[in-house]
Symmetry: C2
Subunit: 198 residues, 2 copies
């Protein structure tokens, strides 16, 4: 038995790994709450960081990727996304996912934002990028992926985020952040023009 | 042994529950990928729907709730949020969480959006509301919560979302959606005025 340790206001009395696969580790913790009551926490630890890309071609079109999401058993249109090991630079993972899912490589990259995806139960974090100066190439999706691709301009993408057509958190945060930052003049002018031209 | 069944393009060969607590169920599935290769999926099923509230007082101030998030071992400022059973109306859960965490009750409610929180591994969904016509009361946080409250106006909230001070996905999506919808004239005028006055 190790000594109890602290996580914020909680005292952790014991920890065990309840499940593990290549993507997640589920840790079960016995804790003492701030008020002294006993409790438990089941925490899903992610081995990968989520990365997303908002890629805009010179003609203003944005490739959306459509796929069936297994956990929800539902089809979902999203910006190109994937994961990279926590010790990999997020930009390297983003370049790889963009190329694998759509074939595009990008000359210009700009980090949009980073956030915590689902902080009540998981430690998953996400980073989103804008990419422009796109060059087409051959997509190479993973064995486990069956992807469709469709093109929209930024106003259409924003509308899909606001009308509930797009429900994926990373796509929503990237799109809404890009729109807001473009309005504020906080993005490189070349990509602002592509976003605002639509 | 039951027959294999389909989830989108996957064939599911077997399923077992690897972990369960009051909030989540971890199901381990053996699957056949679209290309015929064998694989697995570990899916975190949520018993609760996440609900969030963007509450605005008549003076334009918005209560933010600060708490240490156990899974990330990090302090986080967020809009009032919580969870409600999947068979409970999201609005009922939102009313309860607002009142528990801040003491406020609201005369007016408006559903902002719904989304999928982390769709690569979980089936968690979230619903966000605007609330105005606020009346103060006594907060009653759960035993497991140690909360701080702070007040900001909408422009400050938006800035905190854009500068990385706020990292919580539900807070980001609610705030950015509210800002965008207010600009488009898609919100009830009374709350639009509170958002835009700031």
């Amino acid at each position: 038995m190790s000594e109890p340790w602290r996580v914020g206001p909680w005292q952790v009395r014991s920890t065990r790994i309840a499940y593990e696969n290549a993507w997640i580790t589920l840790s079960h913790h016995e804790v003492t709450h701030p008020n002294g009551a006993p409790g438990i926490y089941g925490v899903v630890g992610f081995r990968n960081r989520a990365v997303g890309v908002l890629p805009i071609r010179d003609d203003g079109l944005i490739p959306l990727v459509g796929q069936h999401r297994f956990p929800l058993d539902r089809f979902s249109w999203e910006l190109p996304e994937g994961g990279g090991p926590l010790d990999e630079a997020p930009l390297a993972a983003a370049r790889r996912e963009l190329s694998e899912e759509t074939g595009y490589t990008a000359h210009h990259w700009h980090e949009l934002m980073a956030f915590d995806v689902s902080n009540s139960v998981t430690d998953e974090t996400a980073v989103g990028f804008l990419a422009w100066g796109l060059k087409p190439g051959r997509a190479a999706p993973e064995d486990s992926e069956e992807l469709k691709v469709n093109y929209v301009d930024f106003p259409q993408l924003l509308s899909m985020c606001l009308d509930g057509t797009i429900r994926d958190s990373l796509t929503l945060v990237m799109t809404l952040t890009a729109g807001q930052r473009a309005q504020r003049g906080e993005l490189p002018p070349a990509v602002s023009r592509l976003i605002e031209a639509g």
